[in-house]
Each structure stands twice: as structure tokens, then as C-alpha cells.
Amino acid sequence: MTEPTIYELSSAGRTGVRFPEPDVPLTHLPQSLMREVLPLPELSEVDVIRHFTHLSSLNYCIDSGLYPLGSCTMKYNPKINEEIARLEGFAYTHPLQPESTIQGNLALMYDLQETLKEIAGFAAVTLQPAAGAQGEFTGVMIIRDYHRSRGDAKRTKILIPDSAHGTNPATSAMSGFEVVPLPSDARGNVDLAKLREVCDDTVAGLMLTNPNTLGLFDENVIEVINIVHQAGGLVYGDGANLNALLGIVRPGDLGIDIMHFNLHKTFSTPHGGGGPGSGPVGVSAHLADFLPTPLVGIVEKATADLPPLYGFIKPPKTIGRVKSFFGQFGMFVRAYTYIRMHGPEGLRKVSEYAVLNANYLLAKMGDVYHLPYKRTCMHEFVVEGCWPDIPEIHALDIAKRLMDYKFHPPTNYFPLIVHEALMIEPTETESKQSLDAFAEAMLAIAKEARETPELLKEAPHDTPIGRLDEVKAAKELVLCCWLPDDK
């Protein structure tokens, strides 16, 4: 089935709006400014509404089903978040308004900074970064400026475990550092011997994803951090997998110096096309002066009669701005709502259920899909999407076949240290019934892989468009827009 484009639905002379007769004298643009053709589709209002409503119904989203995309934490986004973000006082403010008129917004930002500090154990938080990768960039810039401020110019390397998120090496390289990969040991932890070997006075820092992309908590995390600190380096924590730790472990307490939060993962703001990301960054006390400017602070303390006056504060050694204005304010409202709706006990339950759900799925699938690192997982796990006796079946075939079972496929081929990786993160918002249905689909596909492998090789069968040609898509970077006059 191919959906016609809006241009193919066009019918000459059809229109959705009737312009009023002009009530001013008519004049004509100079001929040089006139175009010969204006290839816009001609449709009635109902044609347009039906076309786009139908297209939207072809989309798969968290509101339509389980979305086990590993390390993306595609949890349900509670609708109360949207309701609060639409309150007039939040929705209709402008970033250039005088501070005295946006005290409510500033109070919310201040409280969110304070709350994130408490949740993760940091001394200061900036809300500015636009998403996780920009949070990393902010963190690595802080590492750079911290060493420079101490006159230490020889630190040119950043260590990246091979189980880290793919953005970590990219961030380090973009910030001008040399990336030194670190291998994992047989249990999926950072290889301590190798870490000791490479730690010297040229190391600016280590970027640690914990739990890592295998869904495993590094059993030696304190020692890893100590080794880097003893060499004079800083430890950046990638907070993308914080959904496993809320109310249980505070990264700052472990000794992590800097960490970004993904509000669009852990704190239920929309993720993946549904809205902008948001990547606040927390730092320990010795790095607070380097945060991006401005932070929200209390500029006049509360009195018996008056609430505190909030305003903007510039940290003394700031790395500068990383985003225009103050960050993704609408996402702050949603994340703050989520945190307040749950409270401390509720947030801990979020993580406990996220870990329980992942382990439940793993227990149901683990006999059929090979788990290379045999440990209790955290909020996600990675299995091999292949079997030695049927070498023609690959992780991609399993992922594509899952779409016929009406599930979004898991992350595949990442992390690179697992052969034919399928990285599965159910999140805490799935019920036992929904987890059972997913596990049953995975087991059914494993059975099909042996009995009717062509069902997998040719999948998906029940989607609007079948198997896409990934090689062609990667090699021929041509997005062709069909216009009537191109015929």
C-alpha cells in the first residue's frame, strides 16, 4: 500500500479558503518579482484533514503500544503534564518579559534545579542544555575549562568505555579531545587493569554510562571513579540511564563530578519527535562556578510578608551560554509536574518497577535468546538476535518481524560489543499483560526463525511499507520532492 502524497491528491481549482474581496486599490508586483508557476497542491479543507489524519494513524507511538527501544526510556508521558504545561501563566509567557512578571516561571525553574540536585546528589544544576548530547557537550566544556583554570594544559584525552552511549565519544571529539576507548571485562564492567594502564596526567576525564548500555551497573564504579580522580581527571556520568537509579543511588554520592539528566527519558517529557529534548546538567561543588549562564537563583530572600524574589545569576567562571534564553521551559513544567506527582517514594518505585519489568522480560526470554553477559540486569538488557544453527537469521529480521506483531522494535546493533545486539528496555509503565504479550511475540518469532524463516527475512508484512532498502537509503542521499511541473 502506498499513500498518495498531498500533490497527487491535488485537483485543479479546488480550494479550502475563500479570500475576501480586497478593500484597498489593487496594484501589481514588478514582473521581475513574479514567478511563472507556484506548484502548490489544490485541495479542500476536508481533503487535507483526512489526508493528514490518515497519515497520523499510520504512526507508531507510545500512546499506541509498547516501545522497548533500549537506552531511550520510551515511557508513557502522563497527560497531566500536558494539562499543567498549558496553564496560561506558563504557556503564554515570553522569554523577553521583565523578570518581575515571570516570578512563577522562575520559581518553578529554581525548584526544578533544587529537586534535580537532590535526586542525583549534586551541588548545582543548569537547566539550559537543549537535550542529552548538548548536556554532554556542556559537561565536557566544563571539564576543559576546569583544567585550564588550574593551568593544567596537558590533559588532552577522554576515556570512553566500549559500553558507553555512542554520543560520548562524539561529544569528546567535538570538544577537541582525543578519545581513548576502554574495553569491558567479562562481566561487562570497565576493565580496571586497562583503566589503570591508561590513566596518567594527560587524561582530562572519563565518560561513564552507568548503568551502561548492557543494562549493567558497574560493580567497581567507586574504584573506577577513584582511579580517574587519583590521576587528576574528572568523571562525567551519562545520566541517560538514570531511570534505573531514582531514589536508590545518587550519582553525585558515588563521586561522579558532572552528569546530564534527560528530562525526555527519566522524567516523562515527550521523546522522539513528540517534543524537544531537555538535558539539564548537575555538577559537584568544585565545578559549580563553571556552569553555563544564567542560572535561576534567589536574589532577595523571603520575608514574613513576601515570597523570595527570583532572578538570573551568572556563575563567576561560566563556560558561557549553550542555548538561547533559558532552555526548554515547556519541558521543565512537564518534568516538574512528573516529579511532584510521584514524590520521593513514587520516584523510587519508578526505578524499582523499571528494573523489575526488565528482569521479568529477561526471565521470560532468556532461555531462547542468548544473553552474553549473564547478570541480573537493571532497567534494560541486551541479547543476541541470532542463533548458531540458523546463521541466515539476523537481529534485523527479528526487529522487522516484531512490527507485524504490532510492537516497536528494540534498539538493534548497539552496543557494538554484543553480536547482533537487541537492546530491550520495557520501562516501568508497562503492565504484566503487556510484558507477557511482548515476550510471547519474541518467543513466537524465535520459533518462526526455525520453522518459517522466510517470514522473518521478508518482514514486515503488515505495515504500510515493507522492508526498506537500507543500503540504497544510505548510499543514494536523494530526497525527491515530486512537483507537478517536474513531470
Binding site: 543500503v471 544510505a474 548510499k475
Partner: protein
């Protein structure tokens, strides 16, 4: 899986053929099979350039992943395979032949001793999944 007898191999799945003091470098059949369809090859060194052991000489990208190719020995680049930028699929079709990546003059023959022969490499691959 094809492992030609006459070549030297690295643990990172590069092969090296030695002809006098000229070495030719590429990636193995095992590597191309693991990466699956190769869609992009970029040689990151130029003719005449001197490279140290483990220098980055090429980047390969497949539909699954990107991988770096590093030179296992030091040398001076004498030739690069320019055809790979337009026909990266050669790495899948003929990894030990038309998909050679760079040639260089060997500056330190003692570095060759750390490389594996065909049997050692085939054994190494058999320990690493399928």
C-alpha cells in the same frame, strides 16, 4: 569464511600483504561479514604521508555500524585505493583483492612480528561468535 594463507592479520581484523618492503592493507572477510553491507569508505591519509603504528588510515561505514581501520605498522603511504569511495561494496565482494585500502613502504620490519598468520587468525575468529 575466507582466510588467505599468504597474508598477515591483526586482532582488529585488518590484513597485510608483504611484497619486499611494500605492504598492502585491507580488512578481512570476517570484518566485512560482521559489518554487513558497506555503504561508505573514506581513506583518511594521503599519498606521501608518513604514518605511525596504529594510525587511523580509513573509516568504513555499513548499514549497522562505523569502524576505523588502523595501520598495524609504521610506514610511508605510496598509494591509496581511490575507487572505494564510489564502490564501497567492493569491501563486501572482494575484501582481499579489489578492496585493498592503502599501500605503504615499511619503515620498521620488526613491527611485523606482532601480526598473526592465517592459522592463528582463523582460530581467533572461531572464538568470537559466528
Amino acid at each position: 569464511m575466507n582466510v588467505p594463507e599468504n597474508l598477515k592479520y591483526t586482532h582488529a581484523d585488518e590484513w597485510l600483504s608483504i611484497d619486499g618492503n611494500i605492504a598492502t592493507l585491507g580488512v578481512t572477510d570476517y570484518a566485512q561479514d560482521q559489518l554487513s553491507d558497506i555503504v561508505f569508505v573514506e581513506i583518511t591519509v594521503e599519498k606521501g604521508e608518513t604514518v605511525k603504528k596504529l594510525a587511523h588510515v580509513a573509516t568504513i561505514e555499513s548499514v549497522k555500524a562505523a569502524a576505523d581501520v588502523n595501520s598495524p605498522i609504521s610506514g610511508k603511504i605510496t598509494d591509496i585505493n581511490e575507487s572505494l569511495s564510489n564502490t564501497p561494496e567492493l569491501v563486501n565482494n572482494d575484501p582481499f583483492g579489489q578492496a585493498w585500502m592503502v599501500k605503504f613502504e615499511i619503515t620498521d620490519p620488526s613491527e611485523l612480528t606482532s601480526l598473526m598468520d592465517a592459522k592463528a587468525y582463523a582460530d581467533y575468529c572461531s572464538t568470537r561468535g559466528h
